[in-house]
């Protein structure tokens, strides 16, 4: 999967404050019968955004112009549940480039990093500030690993795996990287049957 390198993102935030937003909310299972990865954005948070007959309701996600809101702020423990990569696909197709929460589920985090969606786990006070100030313009600086909040909200550092950061900033693809280890893999197979 190729994606544009990310160095820093400055954007308004779209805030979904509920805790434990799971992957079934992000993309309900009945949309998983697709065989490509495109076009899932219209089903991101489908059951929150559309009435039973498919009419869009007045949910925030239907109101904003998505390219203006590249940062999604989710409540605590975002992305728990399934390993479906359709979740980050749906979010990036909607227009998000980063997700911020005070806790983000492991598999979702890994899947996001591989698809050009930057998962940022930030300390509780900064998270609370973001929840309290929806729509503010926030900067995520991947070079410095910090989130800068406007209006004296402060600057907070976040942690990200060095390799994932390198891949995101350079647009490097892990499959290509694994391909360079072919000899080591072949040797392992010889030694371990």
């Amino acid at each position: 999967m190729s994606f544009d390198p990310i160095k820093n993102i400055t954007s308004k935030t779209l805030v979904l404050p509920a805790a434990n937003i799971d992957t079934d909310q992000i993309i309900p299972a009945r949309f998983l019968t697709v065989t490509t990865r495109d076009g899932l954005g219209k089903h991101a948070f489908n059951d929150w955004r559309y009435d039973d007959d498919g009419t869009p309701n007045d949910h925030l996600l239907n109101q904003v112009n998505s390219p203006d809101y590249q940062i999604l702020v989710g409540g605590h423990n975002f992305g728990c549940g399934s390993s479906r990569e359709h979740a980050p696909w749906a979010l990036t197709d909607y227009g998000f480039r980063a997700v911020i929460s005070s806790e983000i589920a492991d598999i979702f985090k890994g899947n996001s990093l591989k698809n050009g969606l930057l998962p940022v786990v930030i300390e509780k006070s900064a998270h609370q500030w973001l929840l309290d100030h929806p729509g503010e313009e926030v900067t995520i600086d991947l070079e410095k690993c910090e989130v800068r909040l406007p209006k004296n909200g402060g600057t907070y550092s976040f942690e990200i795996d060095a390799f994932s950061r390198h891949c995101l900033m350079e647009g490097v693809d892990e499959m290509g990287y694994l391909g360079t280890q072919n000899d080591a893999i072949a040797e392992f197979e010889t030694n371990h049957g």
């Binding site: 299972a29 390993s83 390799f163 893999i185």
Partner: protein
């Protein structure tokens, strides 16, 4: 230095060690695939002109979007054309790459996590991945087994490896003796309620103590299956004689079985091995459990009062479930019962449900469906006459598959309906938009079907003779 089970299996599979800059390159012994999370990975392979590196270490089945009913003409009506296309694409992709596939014509077809162990493809000391988070199930055999996303499915197809940093380890001890009527499902729900849905994030779990030592493989699989619901990517139980007895004679069991068992025994955590975290529960404290909210951590003993909401999210969850804090959960009116999924669709589960439903009737307006986990389970259950017990009771006996666990094959509940389900996720809408899910053991689900309301299964325990003796 004393090592844990996880450490030992991990070390055996490191191709390139982890550094500050790079995650470890970890070799994968077994890659399980199914129709939902593989098509985009095969597309990437095609785009790059790559081959599947080890088709011999890859096994495929169809389970998620497959119909569980066969119509009068012998056809399997798919919910949508797209679902049918997804299945045929899987079959085409695996045929093209020479991957052993258990499709419609196989005696082994089934939910991917039920099938792997039945084939003996799941064995102690292995690394196992699948594009499905409940891959943690296979940890019951002392394997490191975890779910991966589609990008990584592509990595494993192409390179038989994944890039990963070593997680921390957590030991979960449950010692003592379980009371009558308390099942492995209750044990894992009690654990998740204790540590929380995020409690295992970043950890590999190891289940230790007499409760797991005395548990069957079916039970250990139920427990490990739901490790992911505590946020942990994998959960393990040390291999022992119970494991060896289960695997002996299976299709992929090693030929020199004794030598294999000896090696597997050496995988157990050494005395004094250090874990990053340890949690202790007493077996005697665990009662039959049910969930009352919209994630598996909102679980409670069935005979307790619904706890007060801890925050706004829990308040919303109670509203969604239409339940009230401080009231009994027993007696809640039930609309549907689902007995199935990779959590509870094996023989032990079906026998337990049949024991309770034997000679009873599903209450008039309740729809109960029983979906065996695999063709093998279906065949065995029918040989034991369990299907007759279910059908006589008025429950539907279906074809193997994921069915209402994920509700993407058309098996689902209507908005607002209350489902007592033996599956693993009670997220809002998981079993159909607006559907309300209560997770429970097969015993509790069966009891709900014949009582029409949520009922403590222990009231039926005396009635329960072994149905296989009855027939």
């Amino acid at each position: 230095m004393p090592k844990t089970l996880f450490d030992k299996v991990w070390e055996r599979h490191v191709v390139v060690p982890e550094t500050a800059e790079h995650p470890a390159t970890l070799y994968i012994d077994l890659h399980l695939i199914h129709e939902v999370t593989s098509p985009q990975a095969f597309t990437v392979l095609k785009e790059r002109g790559l081959k599947v590196r080890r088709p011999d270490r890859t096994l495929a089945t169809i389970d998620h979007s497959t119909p569980t009913l066969i119509d009068a003409d012998g056809n399997r009506p798919f919910v949508t054309e797209q679902a049918e296309k997804q299945v045929s694409l899987l079959l085409a992709n695996t045929a093209e790459h020479g991957i052993e596939t258990h499709g419609w014509d196989s005696d082994y077809r089934g939910i991917v996590h039920v099938m792997g162990p039945e084939l003996g493809a799941t064995r102690p000391g292995m690394t196992i991945v699948c594009g499905d988070s409940h891959t943690s199930t296979h940890g019951a055999f002392g394997a490191i087994a975890f779910g991966i996303g589609t990008t990584q499915v592509g990595h494993v197809l192409a390179n038989q490896c994944i890039l990963m940093r070593k997680p921390k380890t957590m030991a979960i001890h449950v010692d003592g003796e379980l009371s009558d009527g308390v099942t492995p499902k209750d044990v894992i729900l009690a654990i998740i309620a204790e540590i929380g849905v995020g409690g295992g994030t970043g950890y590999a779990l190891e289940y230790r103590g007499s409760v797991f030592e005395n548990m069957s493989m079916d039970g250990r699989m139920t427990v490990c299956n739901m490790s992911i619901e505590a946020g942990a990517r994998c959960g393990m139980v040390a291999p022992d004689q119970t494991t060896f007895n289960y695997l002996e004679g299976r299709k992929f069991a090693p030929t020199d079985y004794e030598a294999a068992c000896e090696d597997w025994l050496s995988l157990a955590s050494d005395d004094g091995a250090a874990y990053d975290k340890e949690v202790f529960l007493k077996a005697e404290d665990i009662r039959p459990m049910v969930t009352y909210g919209t994630h598996p951590g909102m679980a409670m003993p069935i005979d307790a009062m619904i706890p007060a909401a801890a925050d706004e999210a829990e308040e919303n969850a109670l509203d969604y479930m239409q339940v009230k804090a401080g009231t009994e959960i027993e007696g809640l009116k039930v609309d549907r019962v689902f007995i199935g999924s990779c959590t509870n669709s094996r023989m032990e589960d079906l026998r337990a449900a049949a024991r309770i439903m034997s000679g009873a009737k599903v209450v008039g307006d309740v729809i109960a469906i029983v979906v065996p986990g695999s063709e093998l389970v279906k065949k065995q259950a029918e040989a034991e006459g369990l299907h007759e017990i279910f059908e006589t009771a008025g429950a539907q006996w279906r074809e193997p598959g994921c069915s209402m666990c994920i509700a993407m094959n058309g098996d689902k509940a209507a908005p607002g309906e209350l489902v007592v389900s033996t599956s693993n996720r009670n997220f809002a809408g998981r079993q159909g938009p607006g559907a309300r899910t209560i997770l429970a053991s097969p015993e509790t689900a069966a009891a709900a079907a014949i009582a029409g309301v949520l009922t403590d299964p222990r009231v039926f325990s005396d009635a329960g003779e072994d149905p296989t003796d009855v027939l």
